[in-house]
Symmetry: C2
Subunit: 534 residues, 2 copies
């Protein structure tokens, strides 16, 4: 907090100098638009989840990497990965010039893949090949914030760089399944779906062979292809019939607006529809249907072979279709990836803000991309990986009651006699030594009611009270605040309240044991309450 | 990695537009100047240390807070806390204008205290008072990078906001001692020193009463005070006689340059020297000396009373002077803080880069500052807290061999027959299920030597080998790579190497048990090696 005044020679950015005038005039205490703070259990629960994920990633041989939050704009490139949000920028600024040389442009990373590309290109001689790495941390997007959409959020990625072997893809899928179970999503509540961009490429070749010349005369094939890819991307939203309409003559959307079609004759649409709807309960049937969809395409056949290999590798490790399934209807990211594509979906229903039941949906996605470091070195380096949507996964775990619920507030030792602070400190010292979260009330102790209000705000399970009388008799009062709150809701009069059994007198020597018992009781109640709620 | 091309209407910052031209011309794969990447155990060890610290902070009733990395420049203020590095700036940029309204200036946080001030001012109605919070995460400084000095680094803070009670200061000191022990600094290897700015204020009053009018006629007292404070700050470097010289006539420094003195007559210097050298083995003697130094100053007496209270509270909890000591020679931060000041020092010797033995020194510091949110609300809100130098503490633990040393690389299952990938995957699956870190070699398996080189680079403890012959006989080879490396250093010829016992044949069914044994053996060796090294 030492002011920079008196250090006028300090090298500060020109930007800062321009705004100096604002600095001391009633600054408003607000996060910048689109940013937020995370408090208490919000932080703890995320930290704990990330630790569980890291444990699985590490066990799979992935090494942690923490790159800097700041990259040169040059190294970062002008790419953004998320197809759903194309119009995003980055937060960028220019370094001060050094003599003649203009300052570099720096920016906050917008994902963890672009930094991986830079790291791999920079350190490739020192890193093992293949290089398995995981990274977790915030990324920043300079986009318009919206409800629930922030400009800083967490990503959690694992990638294998430097191998084209589909065993790497299979491994990432298995790891994703294990990770979901490790954080508390039970088997049956999730499924990892696998598709392959190469199969789609085969389908496109198959379509091309059907397209009559009069169509390609008017429209360039590359343009048609872009139209088909865009349409496939909408399969999730518009469904089977919608895709057929959009690939052919066009479609009226929900708002009544008419969306032009791609202009394919209806019989050319068949391979696309065969592809999107190929999934069968019987895996061999899925593959047969895909073979039908790609026709004679070489790349299509290669794509199917890759999916078969992935399925076989996973089966050998005991990952059946109850956990990981070949599903060509997975279209998200197909435009971005170059080989296998994966998506993890939670299959249970939740009740949304509007009281409607809906499937929770996707919490992770990934795939193979083979041009990771090409920008830097010219070399094609194959890579495959997955990114977990940390905040969505946390929301899912909260919705299912898999995290939270147990007591997290500290025991509060109240101050009855401010001259005996040392006694109260000794109590919390004992409690802490036994691993019990505890604190002395450090505000103004005059008003005892305020101390209990404070304990409430802290979600404290137990308050400890030792007045002069208790001190003299070698006892303390302990108060079950959770039980007290429940009783308060049920009793009417002050007399009843006073008669309630939430407070008990114990020997000072039994403090740790009795407080521990009271907390355990509260935790049991919490658990029961949850069980009843579900 | 989806290019933004074709989204020309995307709202991007003007900055980005200016640099578009550079983007595709051979970007260089480098971190920006002053930034670095952290790999593998560097990340794990920090994460583990932070988790241990968080556990202690949490037990003391502190709640985690994660504020955004980005703040408005307005909220951040133009302050920097670290007296040793005054000429620092921040990384800042301007948001795009919205119509008439110019965009806000945003910046990366330069510490965790300025955001705490903003958070407390913003959320004060919802937060408990007092508010105990801890925060850990990167901060950014726009300063000239130097060797070992980075523009992004970790801080780890705990603060209690909203109480002037010295019990809060005592608590922070106790917590700091517990934290150091929790991360692996044994009792005796550290000491937390406590001083008080108020005592220094008393000393200054005492000096003032001695200063003859002819001195204050020529020099303003406030100027003299600044000179005395600056000099005290140098006590660490110039020692007792240096301080006396600097307070009086001046001093020749090591480079031969003459530093002007503050100009006090020698007899006026006495209270300052009494203060700085007041520490005695007997605490009551320390306090007597301090009383002597502050003379009749009220604030000085108050400061001494606070230190006595802190000492008494700590003694009641069993923290003796072997862990926490009242030491008026602690001067770092005295200019910044308004009340008690703490510093944690590691007392063991290490050997520095130049082979010289030296004390490891300070790893944490803190104190009381009472103007935390005043800028925002006008209110004085007292606060006290501590900041741990995460990187220095990690360096200390490494220097003492308290972290690292055990095996962290994965077991590598080699690929002898690329068609049997499923067999190899099944092996790693078994190992992982038993909690053993393991992976299949996913590079090109043609050259077996490359697979072993890869395993070496991964610091793999064990390689697993199963060729067609082994498969047929139901066995696998496991190779102790750590032992292999040691033997290789000791043997001369290839024959001896081949004869060495680092490789053994085991039944396929015993894979998990035998690999676990081999890793355990390696870990024991590592530990012994360390014990011998120290």
């Amino acid at each position: 907090m030492r002011p920079l005044d008196g250090n006028e020679d300090a090298p500060m950015t020109t930007q800062i100098k321009q705004v100096e005038v604002f600095l001391f005039e009633n600054p408003s205490a607000e996060t910048p638009k689109g940013f937020r703070d995370y408090f208490g259990t919000e932080v703890t629960e995320r930290t704990e989840m990330l630790a569980k994920i890291a444990e699985v990633y590490h066990r799979y041989g992935f090494d942690p990497l923490e790159s800097s939050a700041v990259e040169t704009v040059e190294a970062l490139g002008k790419f953004l990965p998320d197809v759903d949000r194309p119009n995003e920028g980055v937060f960028a600024w220019q370094e001060e010039a050094e003599g003649e040389r203009p300052g570099d442009w720096l920016a906050l990373r917008y994902d963890l893949t672009a930094p991986l590309a830079r790291v791999y290109a920079q350190h490739r001689n020192d890193l093992p090949t293949p290089y398995r790495r995981f990274a977790m941390g915030p990324v920043w997007r300079n986009e318009k914030p919206g409800p629930g959409r922030f400009r800083q959020f967490y990503q959690c990625d694992a990638d294998t760089v430097g191998t084209g072997n589909v065993a790497a893809d299979a491994e990432v899928c298995a790891m994703l399944a294990d990770t979901l179970e490790a954080v508390g999503i039970p088997r049956g509540d999730y499924v990892v779906r696998v598709n392959n961009r190469k199969v789609l490429n085969g389908v496109l070749e198959s379509v091309r062979s059907l397209v009559p010349e009069r169509v390609t005369d008017n429209t360039d094939w590359d343009e048609l292809k872009v139209g088909i890819l865009r349409t496939i991307d909408k399969f999730d939203k518009v469904g089977r019939s919608g895709v057929v309409e959009l690939l052919t003559t066009g479609r009226k959307d929900n708002s009544g607006a008419y969306i032009d079609g791609v202009g394919l004759p209806e019989y050319c649409v068949e391979p696309v529809m065969d592809f999107l709807t190929a999934k069968s309960e019987i895996q061999s049937v899925t593959f047969d249907r895909l073979r039908n969809a790609v026709g004679t395409s070489t790349v299509g056949a290669e794509g199917i072979r890759e999916l078969e290999q992935i399925a076989a590798l996973l089966a050998a490790q005991g990952y059946g279709p109850d956990r990981i399934v070949i599903d060509p209807s997975v279209v998200r990211g197909l435009g971005y990836y170059t080989g296998p594509v994966f998506e993890a979906e939670l299959t249970f229903e939740i009740v949304d803000e509007k009281g409607r039941k809906r499937c929770f949906g996707s919490v992770a996605g990934g795939g193979r991309y083979d041009d990771l470091v090409k920008r830097f070195t010219g070399q094609e380096v194959p890579a495959t990986g997955v990114s977990i949507g940390v905040d969505r996964l946390l929301a899912a775990l909260r919705a299912k009651g898999r995290i939270g619920g147990s007591v997290s507030g500290p025991v509060v030792v109240t101050v009855m006699d401010r001259d005996r602070m040392a006694d109260y400190q000794a109590m919390v010292s004992e409690l802490r030594s036994a691993g019990i979260r505890a604190e002395v009330y450090l505000g103004n102790p005059k008003n005892f009611g305020n101390q209990l209000k404070y304990a409430d705000k802290r979600e404290s399970p137990v308050a400890v009270i030792e007045g002069a009388d208790e001190k003299a008799r070698g006892v303390v009062q302990i108060k079950d605040l959770a039980l007290g709150a429940r009783l308060a809701a049920e009793v009417e009069t002050n007399e009843e309240w006073k008669a309630q059994p939430a407070q008990m007198e114990i020997a000072r020597g039994d403090l740790v044991t009795e407080v521990a018992k009271m907390i355990a009781r509260t935790n049991v109640y919490h658990v029961n309450e949850e069980v009843l709620d579900i």
